[in-house]
């Protein structure tokens, strides 16, 4: 029986023709002597024959369409919106190129627009002279006289010494760079000291901060020590337009700067050329400070920087000499007008793009 069991295991390979010749002979010898195994083998043959005789089934007629439809769906899912937008190279490359150009242009624009502002924010390393106060002439007789004549409280609001420009206009003027018609020195002397005084008065608690940055606040501290606290001190002042509005109000209420009335209207102009007008303007400002100039103002726009201030007439020559050390001075367009004691100086520094014929030489 054991022999029959072994034989049955071989029947499958025997029927399929997978037995070696020797094994095949063994199976056939056994079959010739074992009717039971022969019968089983016959049944297996018939079973195989019945299976092989099974008809082939026709698939549903729409099976192909269903399969292809699902494959197309799969394709559509793959090609999502993003892929459809960016996969074809004839779309992808121009879109990427345009995006690159856009980014570059934007970067250049932002860089150029912030360049001058950044330069203006820079401060000279040397601290400002401690003597930056009112002009020399103002220390004399004129200041008390003016103060006595027009105390801030008594002066009617409707008649300010110089009407402050509307806030927007003031902002525009500052942002637009050097004005085509330079305001008279009077204007600067009227507005600047009261504003500094007002700022200092508004932030008396910030003394420690100002002490930590003396360069930035030296003018304010000095002016504050001399200017009365304007009405409305303690209010929170906002930036921008509000500052300009309050600037005008302070100009109305603050005492007149003492020097201006006695100073003759003398004006010196220095035209300079530089690769970097902003930087040169800062250097010029530093020089003016070191020579005792007061009420120094600086503005920059369109690659032209302007520095103005009041300076002792006796140091005008030295000022010119030191200015020539930092950049080229356009002497034909420069004029030094020396007053009796102090002189208003306006230094205009142009970039090479605004060259008027002078060979720019930076030193």
């Amino acid at each position: 029986m054991r022999e029959c069991g072994d034989m049955e295991d071989r029947f499958t390979a025997y029927l399929d023709g997978y037995l070696e010749t020797a094994e095949r002979r063994i199976v056939e010898e056994h079959l010739s002597t074992c009717p039971d195994c022969l019968h089983k083998l016959e049944e297996l043959k018939r079973t195989r024959a019945m299976l092989a005789d099974l008809d082939e089934i026709d698939p549903p007629p729409d099976l192909t369409e269903k399969i292809l439809s699902r494959i197309h769906e799969e394709e559509g899912r793959k090609a999502g919106l993003f892929r459809r937008l960016f996969f074809p190279l004839h779309i992808k490359i121009p879109v990427q190129a345009l995006a690159t150009v856009f980014v570059v242009v934007l970067a250049v624009y932002v860089f150029r627009s912030t360049l001058h502002e950044t330069a203006n924010l820079e401060r000279p390393s040397a601290p400002p002279p401690a003597v930056e106060t009112v002009p020399h002439a103002a220390k004399g007789e004129a200041a008390p006289a003016v103060k006595k004549e027009t105390p801030p409280e008594a002066r009617p609001e409707s008649v300010p010494p110089k009407p402050a420009p509307p806030p927007a206009q003031t902002l525009k003027k500052e942002a637009a760079g050097p004005p085509t018609t330079k305001p008279a020195p009077d204007v600067a002397t009227q507005e600047a000291p009261p504003e500094r005084a007002y700022k200092a008065a508004q932030h008396p608690g910030a003394a420690a901060e100002k002490a930590a940055s003396p360069e930035r606040h030296a003018d304010d501290l000095l002016s504050y020590s001399k200017a009365p606290v304007p009405p409305g001190a303690g209010r929170v002042r906002t930036r921008g337009t509000t500052e300009m509005e309050e600037k005008g109000k302070v100009a109305e209420s603050a005492p007149m700067p003492p020097a201006r009335a006695a100073v003759p209207d003398v004006r010196s102009r220095v035209a300079m050329m530089s690769k970097d007008p902003g930087r040169t303007a800062i250097q010029a400002k530093t020089i003016m400070r070191s020579l005792g100039a007061t009420r120094i103002e600086e503005s920059t726009a369109d690659n032209v920087s302007t520095v103005s201030g009041w300076i002792d007439a006796s140091v005008l020559g030295e000022l010119m000499t030191r200015l020539k050390e930092i950049a080229a001075v356009d002497e034909p367009n420069s004029s030094l007008a020396s007053g009796p004691k102090s002189s208003f100086v306006e230094i205009t520094v142009r970039g090479y793009g605004n060259n008027d014929g002078v060979k720019p030489v930076d030193r």
Binding site: A13, D16, E43, L54, P60, R70, I71
Partner: protein
């Protein structure tokens, strides 16, 4: 252009019926298969190169055999259609990973066997392990498989007897264990070689032999119960 012409020509010939292969017997694995392999490789390469149209040729060429494998394994006409769709979709998704170590058809039929197995697993034992009864009515044209039209020369009674007999055999197949069922379908109905079955099922050659032996004996016993002496 050559590619498009090739695909077009193949599709025309398939639609016309040239590519339809008969149900495989052992004698089928000869020259025709070698040609089929070569042509499959060509279209597979096109698919892998980004020509989805070439896949349509492969679908038309293999869908009938895949459907028969699925039907004989699941024993259900509708399930077989779903299984074939899923199998082709899987093949389409993964055809880029087909390396050509085996024949494409072997790879493809292995996929349909896997999907048929999954379908049987989902269905559980509800239908597939029901005892076979000779009283079960044969499945009609509407709800059951559509058999090939019989020859007009054959008497109507013979056709009915043949259909009934085939349904009983199918019922016996359905009553087998899943492993036995799939190996019977692949070897005795579709006529794949042991080597091909080894590739499709991922089992060793010895296992194919022993499993096939047990499956045939089980089916023999089942048929004897249904039909009497064989």
């Amino acid at each position: 252009m050559e590619t498009i012409a090739l695909i077009w020509h193949s599709m025309i010939s398939l639609i016309a019926g040239d590519g339809t292969k008969p149900a495989a017997g052992l004698s089928h694995a000869t020259e025709g298969r070698r040609e089929e392999r070569d042509e499959d490789a060509q279209y597979v390469a096109l698919c892998q190169g980004g020509e989805p149209a070439a896949f349509e040729v492969l679908v038309r060429r293999h869908q009938k055999r895949m459907f028969n494998i699925a039907y004989r394994m699941t024993g259900n006409y509708e399930d077989a259609g779903d299984v074939v769709q899923e199998a082709f979709l899987s093949a389409y998704r993964t055809i880029k990973h087909f390396r050509g170590d085996a024949r494409f058809s072997t790879w493809l039929y292995g996929i349909v066997v896997n999907h048929a197995r999954n379908r049987m697993r989902q269905a559980g034992s509800r239908a597939y392990h029901e005892p076979v009864s000779i009283d079960d009515p044969p499945v009609g044209q509407d709800g059951g498989p559509a058999f090939d039209p019989p020859s007009r020369e054959a008497p109507a009674l013979d056709v009915l007897v043949r259909k009934e007999m085939q349904q009983k055999v199918q019922d016996c197949i359905n009553g087998l264990e899943k492993e036995h069922r799939e190996i019977i379908v692949l070897r005795d109905i579709q006529g794949f070689s042991y080597e091909e079955i080894t590739g499709m099922l991922g089992i060793p050659d010895g296992t194919v032999k022993s499993r096939l032996s047990r499956a045939r004996n089980a089916l023999r016993e089942s048929l004897k119960k249904v039909l009497g002496d064989l």
